[in-house]
C-alpha cells in the first residue's frame, strides 16, 4: 500500500495552499489521507470520481483533492450527490460530511439516501462537535460533555450513527477512527467497492473545539481514547450490553446485498417502454 504522503502528493490539487486550514492535531487530515490511500487502491481515475462535501471543517476536504469536486450547502451534500449519480451512474460519487452536517441539518437526507440504497459512498467525519462554527453541541456530542452551547453539559442523548444508518437501510456500514488510520483506508476501500449506499463513520478528534473544552488532553490523548475504547465488531458483539461502558465497535458492521436504486430505476424505464442505455 502506498504511503500517505506519496499518495497525497498524487491527489492534492497542485495549486492549493498548504498547510491546509485544519487546526494542529485535527483528525480530518488523517481521515483525508486514508481516503486518498483507499482511492489509490481502486482502479478509478481522477476523472471518474466526484467528491461532494457539505459545510463544516470536514467539508473543506473537497477543496484539496484533485477530483470533480462540489462543496455544497450545509447538510445537503447527499441531495446534490443523488442528482449527480442519477444523471450519470458511471461516476463514482463520494460524499464527505461532518456529524452535524450529516445527522442534524442533513439527517433527513441521510435516512432517505439509506432507504433508497443508492450507490453513493458516504464518509461521515464524526468529531462529536460543530467544529467550524466554534464548538456547539451536535447530535453526537455525548451526554454531559460541554460545548459552547452546552455550558452545563449536554442533556441530549447522542446518535449512534452506524445504528441509525443501518436501521434506515444502508447496505454497507463501517466505523473507523483516526487512530486506526490504516484500517480506515481498508474499510473505505471496501465501501468504495460496495454497490449500494455505504456509510463509513470516521471518528476524528477535534482537539480545539471539543477536546480543550472537555479537558481531553492532547490530540494524541484523544486518539489514544479511540484506541482504548474501540473493540473490533465481532468481539464487541460478545460483550454483554450491561458491561459496555464507553466502548464502541469498529470495523465493518453491516455488509449486505440489496438491489441498488439505479438498478431498480432501470426496471421503471423498461416498464414505461423506454430504452435503457
Amino acid at each position: 500500500m502506498m504511503r500517505t504522503t506519496e499518495a497525497i502528493y498524487k491527489y492534492l490539487r497542485p495549486d492549493k495552499k498548504f498547510p491546509h486550514v485544519w487546526c494542529p492535531g485535527c483528525g480530518i487530515g488523517i481521515v483525508m489521507g486514508a481516503l486518498v490511500r483507499a482511492i489509490e487502491n481502486t482502479e478509478l481515475t481522477k476523472d471518474e470520481i466526484v467528491l461532494v462535501s457539505g459545510i463544516g471543517c470536514s467539508g473543506r476536504i473537497s477543496t484539496y483533492l484533485d477530483f470533480n469536486t462540489l462543496h455544497t450547502t450545509h447538510g445537503r451534500a447527499l441531495t446534490f450527490a443523488t442528482g449527480i449519480k442519477l444523471a450519470n451512474p458511471e461516476l463514482t460519487v463520494i460524499t464527505v460530511m461532518g456529524d452535524g452536517d450529516a445527522t442534524a441539518i442533513g439527517g433527513n437526507h441521510l435516512i432517505h439516501a439509506c432507504r433508497r440504497n443508492i450507490d453513493i459512498n458516504s464518509i461521515i467525519i464524526n468529531n462529536n462537535i460543530y467544529g467550524m462554527t466554534g464548538g456547539q453541541y451536535s447530535p453526537t456530542t455525548p451526554m454531559e460533555r460541554k460545548a459552547s452551547t452546552a455550558k452545563y453539559g449536554s442533556i441530549e442523548k447522542p446518535f449512534d450513527i452506524c445504528k441509525l444508518v443501518e436501521s434506515c437501510g444502508a447496505t454497507f456500514v463501517a466505523r473507523g477512527t483516526s487512530f486506526h488510520a490504516k484500517m480506515l483506508d481498508a474499510i473505505m476501500l471496501r465501501a468504495l467497492n460496495h454497490k449500494g449506499f455505504s456509510v463509513v463513520e470516521a471518528m476524528s478528534q477535534c482537539p480545539v473545539q471539543y477536546g480543550r473544552r472537555n479537558k481531553l488532553g492532547t490530540p494524541m490523548d484523544m486518539m489514544q481514547w479511540f484506541k482504548d475504547n474501540s473493540v473490533s465488531s465481532p468481539v464487541f458483539d460478545k460483550i454483554p450490553p450491561d458491561e459496555v461502558d464507553e466502548q464502541f465497535p469498529v470495523g465493518v458492521l453491516v455488509n449486505k446485498e440489496d438491489r441498488e436504486y439505479i438498478d431498480r430505476y432501470r426496471d421503471i424505464v423498461k416498464k414505461a417502454g423506454g430504452e435503457v442505455h
Binding site: 490539487r13 495549486d15 492549493k16 481522477k46 476523472d47 471518474e48 466526484v50 461532494v52 473537497s62 477543496t63 484533485d66 477530483f67 470533480n68 469536486t69 462540489l70 462543496h71 455544497t72 450547502t73 445537503r76 447527499l78 441531495t79 446534490f80 450527490a81 443523488t82 442528482g83 449527480i84 449519480k85 442519477l86 444523471a87 450519470n88 458511471e90 461516476l91 433527513n108 437526507h109 432517505h112 430505476y265 421503471i268 424505464v269 416498464k271 414505461a272 417502454g273 423506454g274 430504452e275 435503457v276 442505455h277
Partner: protein
C-alpha cells in the same frame, strides 16, 4: 387531436411538456398543490425517454438534486408552490452563485405559510426576485395561458443554459390548472449546453469572457476537473476573499443578466400607442386586464395594457418609456401591490392599484371600475 395538432392541455401539463421539448431529462420534486400535476406527468413520461424522475424527501433536496444533475450535464427541473419554494431558496442561491443552469417552476398559491393551498395568488413576485439571501440575479418568466406554460418553459431552459443561471417559471394556480386547446409549436429554438472549447489544462469554469460571453460549464466526469462551491470564488472556482476577485465574482453574476436585458426581457403591449391609461398586469390577471381594456375602449376610454412576460428583470425601461405620456397606470394583482411598487419606480405621473388577496380572481369589472374612476 385534430389536424392542426391541437390538444386540450392543462397548464401544468403544458409546462411539463415544454420542459421535455427543451431537453429536460431530470426532474426531482416533492408534491404540493397546485403544482403536483407537473410531477405526476413527468413520473409517467420521463422513464419513457430514459430520463430520471425522483420524488425526493422534501424541496430542499429536490433543489439540491437538480443542481447535481445539471453539473453532471443533464438539463434539470423542479416544480413546487409557495411553502416548497421557500424551502428551495438556499439552494437557488447556490445555483446563482455557482452558475449552474436549472429551472424552478413555482405555481403560486395563497400565502404566507400554508395559506390557501387551493386558491390562486400572485404573492410570490418578490420572493421570486429576492427569496435567497445576498445580491443575486433573477430571471423570472410569467405565463398567462396554457400555451405560454409550454413556450415559456422552453424559453426558461434556453435562458438557463445561455446565462448559466437558475430560471424561475412563476405560474399562478389559475394558469397551472386551466385547460385550453393549444397547438403545440412544431419547432422552437432549443439551446443546449455549450461545450468548453479549451483543453482541460486551460479551463477555468468561472473565466470572465469579453463581450458578455459566458464560459461553458463542463459536465463532471469528462476530463475537466474543477471545483464548485457556494462560497465566493475566483475564476477557477476556489474560495477567495481577495477584494478584487470577490467583486468580480459577485458583479459578474448580476451583470451577465443586467447587460442582456434586451435579450431576456419580453413584454406584451396591447393598445398602448395612444393610451392614457395603462394597465400593467401579468399572469392570469392579464387575461382580465385585456378584457377590461376592451370594455373601456368601447366606452371611449383610451386604455391599453402592458404585460411583463419576463417579470424579473422587471421591464422598467419599457415603463419609463411611456411614463411621460400615460396619465395613469392601473396595476391589478393578486397581492397587496408587489408589482405596483416596481411601477412606482418608473416615475409615473400617477399609479393606482387593484389588489385582491381573498383567494378570488380579479375580474374584468373590477379593473374597469378602477379605469373609470381614474379617467373621470
Amino acid at each position: 387531436m385534430n389536424k392542426r395538432n391541437e390538444v386540450l392541455l392543462q397548464g401544468n401539463e403544458a409546462c411539463a411538456m415544454g420542459a421535455l421539448a427543451a431537453g429536460m431529462r431530470f426532474f426531482a420534486g416533492y408534491p404540493i398543490t397546485p403544482s403536483t400535476e407537473i410531477a405526476e406527468f413527468l413520473a409517467a413520461e420521463l422513464p419513457k425517454l430514459n430520463g430520471t424522475f425522483i420524488q425526493m424527501e422534501d424541496e430542499i433536496s429536490s433543489m439540491g438534486a437538480i443542481i447535481g444533475a445539471s453539473l453532471a450535464g443533464t438539463k434539470s427541473m423542479t416544480a413546487t408552490s409557495g411553502p416548497g419554494f421557500s424551502l428551495m431558496q438556499e439552494n437557488i442561491g447556490f445555483a446563482s452563485m455557482a452558475e449552474v443552469p436549472c429551472v424552478v417552476v413555482n405555481v403560486m398559491r395563497g400565502g404566507p405559510s400554508t395559506g390557501m393551498p387551493t386558491r390562486p395568488s400572485q404573492g410570490d413576485v418578490m420572493q421570486s426576485r429576492w427569496g435567497t439571501h445576498g445580491d443575486h440575479p433573477a430571471i423570472v418568466l410569467c405565463p398567462k395561458s396554457v400555451l405560454e406554460c409550454y413556450t415559456l418553459t422552453v424559453r426558461a431552459f434556453n435562458l438557463a443554459e445561455k446565462y448559466r443561471t437558475p430560471v424561475i417559471v412563476l405560474m399562478d394556480g389559475i394558469v397551472g390548472h386551466m385547460w385550453e386547446n393549444i397547438e403545440i409549436p412544431h419547432t422552437h429554438e432549443v439551446i443546449d449546453r455549450a461545450k468548453p472549447t479549451v483543453p482541460p489544462e486551460w479551463y477555468h469554469p468561472y473565466e470572465k469572457l469579453p463581450a458578455g460571453n459566458i464560459t461553458p460549464l463542463a459536465p463532471f466526469g469528462q476530463g475537466y476537473r474543477y471545483h464548485v462551491t457556494g462560497m465566493v470564488h475566483d475564476r477557477s472556482g476556489f474560495p477567495t476573499l481577495d477584494h478584487g476577485e470577490v467583486e468580480l465574482c459577485l458583479k459578474s453574476i448580476t451583470n451577465k443578466i443586467k447587460n442582456n436585458l434586451h435579450d431576456i426581457i419580453n413584454i406584451e403591449e396591447y393598445l398602448l400607442k395612444d393610451a392614457d391609461i395603462c394597465v400593467v398586469a401579468y399572469g392570469s390577471v392579464a387575461r382580465s386586464a385585456r378584457s377590461a381594456v376592451n370594455i373601456a375602449r368601447k366606452e371611449g376610454i383610451k386604455a391599453g395594457m402592458l404585460r411583463p412576460i419576463t417579470l424579473w428583470p422587471f421591464p422598467r425601461f419599457h415603463l419609463e418609456g411611456i411614463a411621460n405620456r400615460v396619465k395613469t397606470f392601473v396595476v391589478p394583482e393578486m397581492n397587496l401591490g408587489q408589482v405596483y411598487g416596481e411601477v412606482l419606480k418608473s416615475g409615473p405621473k400617477k399609479a393606482v392599484r387593484v389588489t385582491r388577496i381573498d383567494g378570488e380572481l380579479i375580474t374584468p369589472d373590477q379593473i374597469v371600475s378602477k379605469i373609470q374612476e381614474v379617467s373621470s
